[in-house]
């Protein structure tokens, strides 16, 4: 049996909604098959008011062993570093977060807001939001750079807007079943099993990327979304085209550009007008190139690939 507590800071509940749609394993499987005891969760917990506070206090005192502390949403520091804009059970949420993280065996941050601040931390960041151990790309966050939980791991970051439900449940199962020590994390503390590959890995448009044929409108089945519609699939670490959404699709498969939501900079360009769904260019060359590709190499590859493209690559081959 592993005790799990889930709290929410500055957030939209999107990650809770995502979590409840998990399939492999499902949220119910966590309880029935994997021995996770959900002490409290904002959308599932039955307790209210002082009864919730009692659970939190018992976790902090050690009366209840807190095996997994899950946090969704940003840590809000406004106004003036007090965190009073986000009060919970009688005190600023940021205080509960600090005490619960110190008490937990494992700390798991779910979604962009909890990992690196996400949309709430976008400039000018009026709520003075930050993630548990990052603010965008800068390490530190609410817990500080050197924080490790009782199990000896830093915060396990599962980013996304929202995070895919099965990324969440599979990591929770790994931790609850005593395999937390087997997790390898990347430089942003994301489990490598999910975040070493790119969104582009497994994308059905890869042939169009290879032959440099562009999609020119949303929903088109033909063409690659990177060249014109701002798709960040080639430089975003996520398994969105390996572990499909609703087990059947992904943004790019549906003709919608990847927004790069598992990367610390999301939302990119601070959502300045004209930057969303539009590939940013400098003299016709994309500002952000596929990871590991330089401008000279990109231009050579593109010219050669375009020249070699077969006729079918320019047509919609997905006949209904």
């Amino acid at each position: 049996m592993a005790n799990l507590l889930w709290l929410q800071g500055g957030a939209c509940s999107g990650n809770t909604m995502s979590f409840l749609n998990a399939e492999e394993p499902s949220a119910c499987d966590l309880v029935t098959d994997f021995g996770i005891n959900v002490l409290w969760q904002p959308s599932l917990g039955l307790e209210l008011g002082d009864n919730v506070k009692t659970i939190l206090e018992k976790c902090i005192s050690g009366e209840i062993q807190l095996d997994i502390f899950v946090f969704e949403g940003t840590v809000i520091n406004a106004p003036d570093g007090t965190g009073e804009w986000n009060r919970f059970c009688g005190e600023p949420m940021k205080n509960w977060v600090k005490k619960l993280c110190d008490a937990a065996q494992y700390v798991v941050a779910i979604g962009d807001c909890a990992t690196w601040g996400g949309i709430p931390a976008t400039a000018p960041n009026p709520s003075d939001s930050e993630g548990l151990q990052f603010l965008k790309r800068a390490k530190g966050g609410a817990l500080g750079e050197n924080f490790v939980s009782k199990a000896g791991l830093p915060v396990i970051n599962i980013p996304g807007c929202p995070a895919h439900p099965d990324w969440v449940t599979q990591i929770l199962v790994a931790v609850a079943s005593g395999r937390g020590g087997d997790l390898t994390l990347d430089e942003f503390q994301r489990p490598k099993t999910f975040f070493a590959s790119f969104t582009q890995t497994g994308c059905t448009r890869n042939m169009h990327f290879a032959y440099k044929v562009s999609t020119t409108a949303f929903g088109q089945r033909k063409g690659c979304l990177f060249y014109d519609l701002g798709c960040r699939g080639p430089m975003t670490h996520s398994p969105c085209n390996r572990i499909l959404w609703n087990r059947q699709s992904s943004k790019t498969r549906a003709g919608m550009p990847c927004l790069g939501c598992t990367e610390p900079e999301f939302p990119f360009f601070d959502l300045a007008p004209g930057t969303v769904f539009k590939t940013q260019t400098v003299m016709g060359v994309p500002k952000d190139l596929p990871t590991g590709v330089d401008k000279k190499g990109y231009m050579k590859l593109t010219a050669a690939a375009k020249n070699a493209s077969p006729a079918w690559a320019e047509e919609d081959i997905f006949v209904v």
Partner: protein, 110 residues
């Protein structure tokens, strides 16, 4: 010709455009669209001023019948993302014109 190649109408229009450019049609070759904001501004002009008028598309797009090189970057249609190689056609929604591979316009992107 395959069914996905250029149609006769497109061939005729391509030839008509070639004649216009050869005859010295003055187009807005410069400034090139250096930034995404500049691209968006030209796109908006194409929508509002050109519509379906081919000559206005050529003028606002800054078409030439030869390749323009800017900052050591050659910008021929044949390497542009909107160019369909087998149809010799520009698929940018606001242009949608038959072109030749060595032509150029200021909305070129790779």
């Amino acid at each position: 010709m395959s069914d996905i190649g250029a149609t006769r109408d497109e061939d005729n229009l391509r030839e008509e455009i070639a004649q216009k450019l050869k005859a010295g049609l003055k187009t807005e070759v410069f400034p090139r669209a250096e930034t995404s904001a500049a691209v968006n501004a030209i796109i908006m002009r194409l929508r509002e001023e050109a519509g379906a008028n081919v000559e206005k598309k050529l003028v606002i797009g800054g078409f030439t019948d030869h390749t323009i090189e800017v900052e050591d970057i050659e910008q021929p249609c044949e390497t542009c993302m909107y160019y369909l190689v087998h149809r010799k056609f520009c698929e940018l929604p606001e242009l949608m014109l038959p072109v030749e591979p060595e032509w150029s316009c200021r909305l070129w992107r790779i």
